[in-house]
């Protein structure tokens, strides 16, 4: 069981590409994207009516060393286009995959 960091990002779906690029640039080993989420912040409700304007919820687990780079890369995007990012602690189950790669 390895100690890792859990990054959660909620943002408008129009930012998704930029966010994923930032994550990849930071070298995170993977991410999961949930689309079509609705949300509200102090800045107003984003209803899930028009798919082009709804929110996405991105989860990425990365090593504790990577977390600063990730935040550095995400910061300008969230600052400019909105969205929030939270970090918490987790441990990763060790998996020795036999699956095709």
């Amino acid at each position: 069981m390895e100690v890792v960091k859990r990054i959660e990002i909620m943002a408008s779906s129009v930012e998704l590409n930029k966010i994923l690029k930032a994550l990849e640039k930071s070298g995170v080993p993977g991410y999961t994207v949930i689309r079509n989420v609705a949300g509200r912040s102090v800045r107003g409700t984003v209803s899930d009516d028009f798919s082009s304007l709804d929110n996405v919820y991105v989860i990425a687990f990365c090593s504790t060393e990577q977390i600063d780079t990730v935040i550095e890369n995400l910061n300008p995007i969230l600052n400019k286009f909105g969205g929030v990012c939270f970090v918490s602690d987790a441990t990763q189950m060790n998996v020795v995959r036999c699956v095709g790669s």
Partner: protein, 323 residues
């Protein structure tokens, strides 16, 4: 104004379903059309209208009338955001003014389609090639809006626009791309293609419009609460500017001698505002503007206004001029 026109417009099933959707929100019904069902119908409408337009463009050919119409369309798409920008600057900062100007310079395909169904209802012909105007008027306003931002907003962080991205967002966004693509496929496959897809693109057309307007009613009514933020100035803008734009459109239509049906469709394009493609592009390119302002005015005021009052009103005006 001719009451029978208003009644004809109202007794159109799609328009009544729009009302029904609004009513559902007002009486707090839990009626909802979960995503992506509305997306299915909006894709369908773009394909159907584009494809039919293409088929009919083949039949009519690229005549002088078509050329004049195309010129008028591009002109209005560029000019409307310019003058609306300066009107909006009275009360708003340059970012929000440019964003709303872009929204009103662009068009709403569903308003166009509803106007087409209204023409069917009252028995006035229109040309299928008008769909070319629909396709051409969606994008230019985005670019004009961004130029306005560049010129009039003091660029604090000295950032440059990524024009490649902007042009892609403007001209290759999903709705423009699908509409233009469908027009071209309609042209290429001609009569045979029309035959094959007829039950799909024509049979289902009003049904899909009905479903989509039901959803639009739900969405527009939900947006109404955002109008508080917009204030009286913007609400008045969202009603008066469409009438003014339609007036300019009608004058141009008269000038280039469009037949009445085409003139109505052109007026409706000028009068309508985009609430899907343009807002999506603006979120990325003018993040400083507040989306709830430009979306809620276009969606909760201008769209219902055009659907319920505007369309018969503009036809009334056209009837006056043309007779």
């Amino acid at each position: 104004m001719d009451v029978s026109l208003v009644v004809s417009n109202l007794l159109n099933p799609p328009v009544l379903f729009f009302f029904l959707g609004m009513l559902a929100v007002f009486v707090k019904s839990d009626l909802e059309i979960p995503s992506p069902i509305p997306k299915l119908f909006s894709l369908y409408l773009l394909i159907a209208i584009g494809f039919r337009g293409g088929s009919e463009l083949v039949k009519s050919g690229i005549t002088q009338d078509v050329f004049l119409m195309i010129g008028a369309a591009i002109l209005m798409a560029c000019v409307v955001p310019l003058y609306t920008f300066f009107i909006l600057r009275i009360k708003l900062d340059p970012y929000n003014a440019a964003a709303i100007a872009a929204t009103y310079g662009s068009i709403s395909a569903v308003t166009f389609i509803t106007a087409g169904s209204f023409l069917d209802q009252v028995g006035i012909a229109s040309d299928g090639y008008m769909v070319a105007a629909l396709a051409l008027m969606e994008s230019p306003a985005i670019v004009v809006g961004l130029i306005l931002v560049k010129v009039f907003a003091d660029n604090q962080d000295g950032q440059e626009f990524d024009w490649g991205e902007i042009l892609r967002e403007s001209f290759f966004n999903g709705s423009v791309f699908l509409l233009v693509g469908s027009i071209i496929i309609g042209i290429l496959t001609g009569e045979h293609g029309e035959e094959v897809l007829k039950p799909f693109t024509q049979g289902l057309f009003y049904g899909a419009l009905t479903f989509f307007l039901l959803d639009m009613g739900l969405v527009a009514a939900q947006r109404i609460q955002d109008l508080q933020k917009a204030g009286v100035f913007l609400i008045a803008f969202a009603i008066l500017i469409p009438i003014f734009n339609a007036g300019v459109g009608i004058a141009i239509a008269k000038l280039i001698q469009m037949p009445q049906g085409n003139a109505l469709l052109f007026a409706v394009l000028c009068a309508s505002a985009s609430y899907i493609a343009v807002p999506a592009a603006l979120r990325l390119t003018v993040p400083e503007a507040n989306p709830s302002l430009y979306i809620s005015t276009a969606l909760a005021v201008t769209f219902p206004f055009n659907i319920l009052v505007g369309i018969p009103l503009y036809l009334y005006g056209i009837n006056l001029f043309w007779s």
